[in-house]
């Protein structure tokens, strides 16, 4: 536990001390603000952040692989994986610690978008319902956790940050496109299976204020499963350097 906390702290402080962490956060803030300004601040429309959450969740498919790509790949490249793997910390605590660090960073990265909520409240005749907004942010954290776990897995499999990013990005974006575009064109039962794994409809439900435990369980189970795979991938580094 102490090792996982130490690793989480280090990951978070590393992202806050390096330009990459600030660039990613600034880029995400810029894109989400642009979407908010162009589509949500539409005069005459109801005060709702549904479109914002849908777009912000989709953007995470690009941003989260960039955040997580360095987690283990960079450690392997720089040689800092040596002291890490020869420390008493278990593989599981290394993965959980690093994942927790980038998840905490993501929470901080989402924090500035609360200014958009404040703006919407300020400019709306009728204040927006807080339930969908809270549920929407919960959905963003769940989606971010899922993509970060995917990025942790790809980062554990390679010593190249670029490969780790590309693999996580292609899987995440491919899944988004596949579930939205491919599933309706496939015969049953393949269509249902693929549609059942879709992320966007779940985010849409959250953005309507529906916190369905099935959706929550979906994200938690997949995140945990990907972290288990990442732990196995890290353990395999003890067989070949």
């Amino acid at each position: 536990m102490s090792a996982a906390l130490a690793l989480a702290r280090r990951e978070l402080s590393s992202l806050l001390r390096t330009p990459a962490g600030w660039i990613i956060a600034a880029l995400y803030a810029f894109l989400t603000t642009a979407v908010f300004a162009l589509r949500t601040l539409d005069p005459g429309q109801p005060a709702s952040m549904r479109f914002f959450f849908a777009t912000a969740a989709s953007l995470l498919a690009v941003v989260m692989p960039a955040v997580s790509m360095r987690l283990l790949a960079e450690e392997a490249r720089a040689g800092t994986l040596e002291p890490l793997l020869t420390s008493p910390a278990s593989h599981g605590s290394i993965i959980v610690g690093k994942f927790a660090g980038v998840l905490a960073y993501t929470a901080l990265m989402l924090l500035p978008t609360l200014a958009l909520v404040v703006t919407l409240i300020a400019v709306s005749d009728r204040a927006p319902d807080p339930g969908p907004i809270i549920a929407g942010y919960l959905s963003l954290m769940l989606v971010a956790a899922l993509y970060l776990a995917l990025g942790t897995l790809t980062s554990a499999c390679t010593s190249s940050q670029t490969l780790a990013f590309l693999a996580a990005f292609l899987i995440a974006v491919g899944h988004l496109i596949g579930t939205a575009q491919l599933a309706p064109r496939l015969p049953e039962p393949a269509s249902s299976w693929i549609a059942a794994s879709a992320i966007n409809p779940r985010v849409a439900d959250f953005a309507r204020g529906i916190i369905d435990l099935k959706h929550v369980a979906f994200f938690i189970i997949w995140t945990a499963w990907l972290l288990v795979l990442a732990t196995v991938a890290l353990a395999r580094r003890r067989i070949t350097p």
């Binding site: 090792a3 906390l5 590393s14 390096t18 002291p83 008493p88 350097p241």
Partner: protein, 333 residues
């Protein structure tokens, strides 16, 4: 403190596997500094990675401070302080922050960490840069930060891979003194390409080549072993009315003898004896009775010779200025 038995490790698919280590067995006691030598590709890095638990052996066991590294990995690894070859660090962290991070990773209780960090910073002479970013430090400082990280949890076993890389001569001497101090109640394994450093620091030397342990002994024992298979060479400088070359050439065991004239009527004679011949300095001195002898030495094989012979490879880098061999002065003159 470090026990390794029948360690095997190969890389790659089974049909074209590269065997990096073939049956390494060693036992390293507390209170000794052991040097690990070997040419590039000999299996040194693999050995260190297996001993530190970084890699899992295909076969064989490693026990650190009585704990099997595969059965009790956390406890065994908690007993190791490891300085990897490239001294990997996080450039954005400060030395104090990095030591706090490593202390937490090693499972040190929160209470006492601050004191341990202060003591280690001071011991490794990096207290003055404790708040500077590691990325801005010189190579020597970074090396010492990495060493401090290996020492922070006060481990009973230290494994140091090229610990003097980037250090200046004064820092090398300091580090040697620190290793000697640490080794009093610890097991220290040191891998280095600098033979002079190994010779001066280590009580025992392991030579690995082709994935196998080729030699194990004190520096003197290894040099003596090398001497058994090499011709002994003697040098003498003397002044006499007539040359003594023919007398010296007839000494038992002498295979070659050369003489050159030096200024002031001195002559320099070089004698080569068969391998295994007993020390000939006394018979040579006896043959030179009546002469003024200003030098009589026997050229002894060095650790470098022993390394080249026992590893079957070329000699590796020296730090000291090149000198072909050690010379023992004559017992008589």
């Amino acid at each position: 403190m470090i026990e390794a038995f029948d360690l095997h490790k190969s890389y790659g698919p089974a049909h074209r596997a590269v065997h990096a280590l073939r049956g390494l067995s060693v036992s390293l006691r507390t209170g000794t500094v052991t040097g690990l030598l070997g040419p590039n590709g000999a299996g040194k890095s693999t050995s260190i990675r297996l001993l530190t638990g970084r890699l899992i052996a295909d076969r064989g066991t490693v026990t650190i401070a009585g704990r099997d590294i595969n059965r009790e990995p956390a406890r065994a690894r908690a007993s190791i302080g490891y300085l990897p070859e490239s001294a990997p660090l996080y450039p954005e962290m400060t030395p104090a922050g990095y030591l706090a991070h490593r202390a937490a990773l090693s499972g040190m209780p929160r209470r006492g960490r601050s004191r341990a960090i202060a003591a280690t910073l001071s011991r490794c002479d990096i207290a003055d840069v404790r708040r500077r970013r590691i990325g801005t430090l010189s190579k020597g400082y970074r090396q010492r930060v990495a060493l401090a990280a290996a020492l922070i949890h006060d481990p009973p076993v230290l494994i140091l891979d090229e610990p003097t890389t980037g250090l200046d001569p004064a820092q090398v001497a300091q580090l040697r003194a620190l290793i000697e101090e640490l080794a009093r109640d610890r097991t220290v394994l040191l891998s280095s390409h600098v033979l002079a450093e190994v010779e001066q620091t280590c009580d025992r030397i392991l030579i690995i080549a082709g994935g196998e342990l080729r030699a194990d002994g004190t520096p003197d024992e290894l040099a003596t072993r090398a001497a058994q298979d090499r011709p002994a060479i003697y040098h003498a400088e003397y002044r006499a009315g007539a040359s003594r070359l023919s007398d010296l050439r007839n000494l038992p065991g002498i295979t070659e003898a050369d003489e050159t004239d030096l200024p002031a009527d001195y002559r320099r004679i070089t004698l080569r004896a068969e391998p295994g011949t007993p020390d000939l300095r006394e018979p040579i001195a006896a043959a030179l009775v009546g002469c003024v002898v200003r030098e009589l030495t026997r050229q002894r094989p060095t650790l470098e010779d022993a390394f080249a012979q026992l590893s079957g490879g070329a000699p590796i880098a020296r730090r000291t200025p090149p000198r072909s061999a050690k010379h023992e002065p004559a017992a008589t003159s």
